[in-house]
Symmetry: C2
Subunit: 411 residues, 2 copies
């Protein structure tokens, strides 16, 4: 079945916000085995919206619309779809009650315009919105399925996951099952080259690459009559990917991040960790603290941006700083060992580098970063050369630190 996305909202046309809804919905649809050929953004304009919906109706089985369900006069999606369907708008009692309750629990009085959100085109059904006032809508006509979702991502995402994805699964009559193979430590081009043949000849299952900063995720997706059959179709390709990428694969669990993987390894081994960050300025620690429950593993960390801080907080020798400089493998190694000592931790990761745009020299250019990992007495320091903006260099340094630490822990 084909699906088409229509995102409604003038703020999207003005570039006021980035269209994260389209990426989310597109990825969800791909995971559901639906083929998406068009995404359109259109403004809060009745004629253009009508034209866009009609065009979608003429060429796609499923039409997902986001935005334009709110209480203001610019919110027109429901009215427009009702017009395309030739349906009247009727008040849905349950929706009206939910809107009333939403305002009551917040101690606020709804303005009159809020009640139009309880209107549903005749023949359609309302989908409860647990995180906002506007219910979603599902309508079917002439074999087409039209789904209206609220624009705010924090309302759209839960509604899609809880209500719409199950609905779409039932439509296809098939089961779609995915496994995501996540790798870190190999660049995107190299990773895709390693599996170019698999990508070329993919059928069922499909193989889709997702590039993240410092990581590549390969989603393997199969369609079959049952979950068990689909899983069986996925398995050989997943095994082939694990074989080709070896220990660069850090998880096949869609929900697990690189930092969670590292935190889990440390927790299983009863190890504590600290950080000593210079140019990353806290980015690495912040990634570790992304993990709920990391308090078992991370107790303290140090931002040592100035040379004096490297000495006073971590015990880096003045002689080392003088002879080799702040950005050197020697300094990185002393930072890691010093941090472990100062924090009383089993493991320490130190990062020192030149984030730019200034500060680079011929010998030590912008992007030069040393990362040192200390694990129970053993030290491993690596040199990196990152290319990009100040922000990019620091982000690459943080993910490379996680990758380097994991590699040292699992080897």
């Amino acid at each position: 079945m084909t699906v088409e996305l229509i995102c409604v909202g003038t703020e999207l046309l003005l570039g006021n916000i980035v269209n994260t809804n389209a990426a989310f919905l597109a990825e969800q649809c791909a995971a559901l085995g639906l083929s998406c050929y068009y995404q359109t953004v259109v403004g809060d304009n009745p004629e253009r919206l009508l034209q866009t919906v009609r065009t979608a109706f003429s060429r796609s089985d499923i039409i997902l619309l986001s935005g334009g369900l709110g209480p203001t006069k610019d919110d027109l999606t429901k009215e427009t779809v009702a017009e395309v369907f030739g349906a009247a708008l009727l008040e849905d009692t349950a929706s009206r009650e939910m809107i009333a309750a939403y305002f009551q629990t917040r101690g606020k009085i709804p303005t009159e315009n809020n009640w139009k959100q309880a209107l549903v085109p005749e023949g359609g059904r309302a989908v409860a919105n647990r995180n906002g006032t506007a219910p979603g809508i599902i309508m079917e006509k002439e074999g087409r399925h039209v789904i209206l979702l609220p624009g705010p991502p924090d309302e759209l995402k839960p509604m899609f996951t809880e209500e719409i994805a199950p609905y779409l699964r039932r439509l296809s009559g098939e089961v779609i099952s995915s496994v995501t193979v996540k790798i870190a430590g190999i660049g995107e081009s190299s990773a895709e080259t390693k599996v170019a043949d698999l990508m070329e000849k993919q059928g069922n299952p499909t193989l889709a690459p997702y590039a993240k900063l410092g990581e590549v995720h390969f989603r393997v997706t199969a369609r079959a009559k049952t979950e068990a059959e689909a899983a069986a179709l996925n398995a050989p390709l997943v095994e082939e990917l694990k074989k080709r990428f070896g220990s660069f694969v850090y998880t096949t669990d869609e929900t697990v991040t690189l930092e969670k993987t590292v935190a889990d390894i440390l927790q299983r081994r009863g190890l504590t960790m600290t950080v000593a960050e210079s140019c990353t300025g806290g980015m690495l620690a912040a990634r570790m603290v992304n993990v709920a429950g990391v308090s078992e593993v991370l107790k303290a960390g140090f931002i040592t941006y100035a040379n004096e801080a490297k000495s006073s907080l971590l015990g880096v020798k003045e002689e080392t700083l003088r002879q080799f400089g702040a950005v050197s493998s020697q300094t990185a190694g002393e930072m890691a060992q010093g941090a472990a000592r100062a924090a009383g931790a089993d493991v320490a990761v130190a990062i020192t580098g030149i984030a730019g745009p200034d500060g680079g020299t011929a010998k030590k250019p912008v992007g030069l970063v040393y990362i040192s990992c200390y694990v129970c007495g053993e030290v491993n320091t690596q040199e990196y050369h990152f290319i990009g903006s100040r922000m990019k260099i620091r982000e690459y340094a943080a993910v490379s630190a996680l990758t380097q630490l994991r590699s040292m822990l699992v080897s």
Copy 2:
């Protein structure tokens, strides 16, 4: 003049990447005074791409296409546009030489398929790509202007800024001038309510809100015959916004961030700063280190995630932790004072809170955060209640810390 965006790439339809190009181009076009009514995403499919370009040609003055200019067989944008124009593809010598040079400086040998990137539709002109292999293309026909841009954002953005924006400015025959009024410390709804009347009656200049996390930016844009006239049109509206928002306005310089503003204030006063972060885990320090040259101001910082770290590194009293808990205004105040002492800094910002999703109680729910600012002996602690995911709560805490510190420094 109207502009339409077409983003080409199957990876966008699969949701593999978020369409940041569309947001960037849309915002740039708005700043140039161009009206954008449609954005479309289409895959690497010749027929659908052709249909999409033809549709755009029928309804918009300017068509911006991104993506599909690379060397692979999936890269079809140029061929498709040439077909719409009925133009042959001719090799552009300068482009071929630039592609050859690009590979040479990297010590790589280009594969055969790279040379097709040097082809330009007859009547079009190539636009140099300083950051990649594929040149951009500008073509004009029957009053329509078609611009092809490379897909990778790090290639598209500089090319647009350096080459395309000046071209578009000349097309309109007018000067467009913008001023961005950035405010922090007021929520988006409240901010827009404060200027609802101004938004309603906007003409020339226009007034567009941009919601960021913890901030709202209002872009004031005027069109006129000269820069001076446009600036004069903007000035009264900018003054009105500054009057209504008072000290919540932290800059009217488009390029200046909240963290840079804080760093600049500290630097001007010769003050140094440190941080003591618990739940934010380094996010605040990382924001300060976003600022190139922050080394004048930030020398050291502490991640004190565990209670013991709050005591051992910052001197927070065990009695305080026992009586009031880690998440309390008392602990936050001692963290700030202790950090200033430990780092020898004039200013310190401490954050302690419950990021969730676990750890909340009836008395101290998820989202409760205390932020304490110490400035040259004076301490100001505030209590916050954030709503959202673990990540959102921490991001809000970090931006609120910057806002609270700035507020204390300027008052």
